[in-house]
Assembly symmetry: C2
Homo-oligomer: 416 residues x 2
């Protein structure tokens, strides 16, 4: 049985720092989630000698080799030629890729944006004759699978790899790998330190805890014969943390708002636009997202979110009362049904003994019931993580509110 997978990431643009290699992490997490082992990832320039030397060394182990990069049409795209040289094979046009390449070539000729000859363009439609093609739905160059090594060649572009990934997985499924049983549980609002009592009962189960701004993701791993123990642990987690096991609260929120035809608004002080930015990262939210106020200055809290200066004077800008006024005010201003507000101290300066750096008040308003809830949280993890944790907590609270989940891990207390 094969032990695992070895990656070869090629591309001079990675070696001079222009491009951050995200493929290693993509492959690593995809393989880990399926109980497969990633043994090594080697990143190197488009250097023929270095690449073939690496392939040869990797192939001696019997592990699956996955190569990314080098499948385009230009002269530094070497993968197909090097594979043919190494395996004593010849390159042939893959019919589907050839057809698509010719089609786009003609189209570009019409647009007068053609920059290369058809012969050069067709280089990316080639695969070794012994290979099976993996269809590329995003770009033009097909992926390559050579069972005898075994070897999979993919393009370097993350979006093309993602497009091919289902087919790659089906190839991996057919190879004979030693693998573990695995369960993955996203757990919002729960840190590693709170999990000791659950994790200690883990006979035969290896627990990996991936800390994230919004909580953690648990990876429960076991020998296949201990799979029932995995499922038991999952059931325990579900009963202990109802409403907190959810993949992405924001996506759920948007779907829920759309189906109920409800409008959302946000008022942000310490998070400075991050919540609005994350919402509008998603396409198609304009039917449910009205907008928001980034009320950094106190006068902006009044001008944009209708917070009366008396509230700020009496309780401070970082207070439950101000958070409540902010979410009610922005909902009124933007005629929203639901709203979130954030006011806190991101740091590094501005803290006090009563309200240290890391303190944040999150408000939630629901026009349908007139309810305003505010929670106080403490995320003393530095500016960036403070802001990420604050926004994530707000989205989780809103999702739980929309779901009317019984258990609320962040009980935003009712404020009148």
């Amino acid at each position: 049985m094969r032990k695992g997978v070895r990656l070869c990431i090629t591309g001079s643009e990675v070696m001079n720092g222009f491009v951050l290699d995200r493929n290693t992490q993509f492959f690593a997490s995809e393989l880990y989630a399926r109980g497969l082992e990633l043994i090594e990832s080697r990143i190197m320039p488009d250097d023929p000698e270095q690449i073939v030397k690496t392939w040869k060394e990797f192939s001696a182990s019997g592990d699956l080799i996955v190569n990314s990069g080098g499948l385009g049409p230009t002269s530094d795209d070497l993968t197909v030629d090097l594979l043919c040289e190494w395996l004593g094979d010849t390159a042939v046009y893959e019919p589907h890729a050839e057809k698509r390449t010719r089609y786009f070539f003609e189209k570009r000729a019409k647009d007068k944006t053609r920059v290369m000859s058809i012969d050069v363009a067709l280089r990316q439609a080639r695969i070794p004759s012994k290979a099976t093609a993996i269809k590329n739905t995003v770009g033009l160059a097909p992926g390559i699978f050579i069972p005898e090594v075994p070897f999979i060649a993919l393009p370097g572009f993350p979006d093309e790899i993602r497009g091919m990934w289902p087919e790659v997985l089906s190839i991996i499924e057919r190879l004979d790998f030693s693998r573990s049983a695995m369960r993955i549980i996203p757990l919002w609002g729960v840190g590693e330190s709170q999990l000791f009592s659950v994790l200690e009962k883990s006979d035969g189960v290896l627990v990996g805890v991936h800390a994230l701004p919004w909580g953690c993701r648990l990876f429960l791993r076991s020998d296949p014969k201990h799979e029932p123990a995995l499922d038991e642990m999952v059931a325990t987690l579900h009963s202990r943390y109802p409403g907190q096991i959810v993949e992405n609260p924001l996506l759920n929120i948007i779907e829920s708002l759309k189906s109920q035809n409800l409008k959302l608004a946000v008022a942000e002080s310490c998070t400075g636009g991050l919540a609005a930015k994350q919402i509008t990262d998603l396409a198609g939210v304009s039917s449910v997202f009205q907008g928001g106020a980034v009320s950094y200055a106190n006068s902006a809290k009044t001008a944009l979110a209708g917070v009366s200066p008396e509230i700020v004077e009496a309780h401070g800008a970082v207070s439950a009362e101000c958070a409540a006024a902010m979410c009610r005010g922005i909902a009124d201003n933007l005629q929203a049904d639901l709203s979130l507000s954030f006011t806190g101290i991101a740091g590094p300066d501005g803290g006090s003994a009563a309200k240290p750096v890391g303190t944040v008040f999150i408000g939630l308003f629901d026009r349908r019931t007139g309810e305003t809830r505010v929670g106080k949280f403490f995320f003393p993890f530095g500016r960036e993580r403070f802001r990420n944790a604050s926004v994530a907590t707000g989205f989780l609270a809103l999702w739980q509110h929309l779901e009317r989940a019984q258990a609320r891990p962040f009980p935003l207390s009712e404020l009148n």
Copy 2:
């Protein structure tokens, strides 16, 4: 002469996908910027056999080995023990690190947050006896330099590596590397295709173009003996693109606003809070940043940025008139001296023949002169890059406005 640097990145948390390796890119760009070559980066788990095998293979080349990870106190932190085993050396306490470790250990004992014994904690204060310590100002474990290999061991945490980097560079300077002469030019608002006429005159100069959302960064590289040709090319670029060669306009803007005691506000439609988010990513901006409106819905443009519904009705929400009204309105609402506004079509839907996806209007208002300027731009690169390019362009325009640069690559035309 040594050819370059080989990296060994160790850490099981990278191999299961929990952590994205950013160290390879950091080392790659830092070395490339100094004309040094990164030959390979190998990422592997905390596996003693695999790590030592890699070091041995690397050391045969005579290149500098840089290892990151494995310097902490826990049992999977193997670097020091493996180095001693490999080099026939013994570990000793490094006095400075020992003192710091004991200090923090006592402090934690008082806080009752001590989780390990002093012996375990002191593991991270050890270095091989032959080694020179590299001071860690962020964490506790010192870095390690072993001249005879040569070998540098650094922690895995990016912030600790950054803290040690000046000392690492001074070590690298003293090693005998073959290196190129290098000049790096950040060029705002200029794409690769516009650079042909400059780049073709590059006798003896290798030009690397790193495309970025806001333009590109040019890397001009030559043999040391061609260094004058590099400087000539840099002079040409400065005279051709005045006001566009700037490292980070946003940082310059904040400094300029602070020194002049001016207040900034933003009104964002298509960018959805991204500009405000980028401004508030920076600590200490509250003295110059009032806040902003995320006016996604048309009604929000009216409620937050005072845009009259007639303007939207007559010209559309994506128009020069609306952009002008947005920046004037938000400046009035928030009593700002300067403001930026963004309204456009991020896509994928919502485009038309007259205003296709990728169209954006950027407005700039200056209360001191009453001047309102608006520019129309086209960034048809997908939602994320569209938003990044829009915000970057706005910041560049504002910086050039504050500098009163004569040449304005994005001439925001005056609108009354």
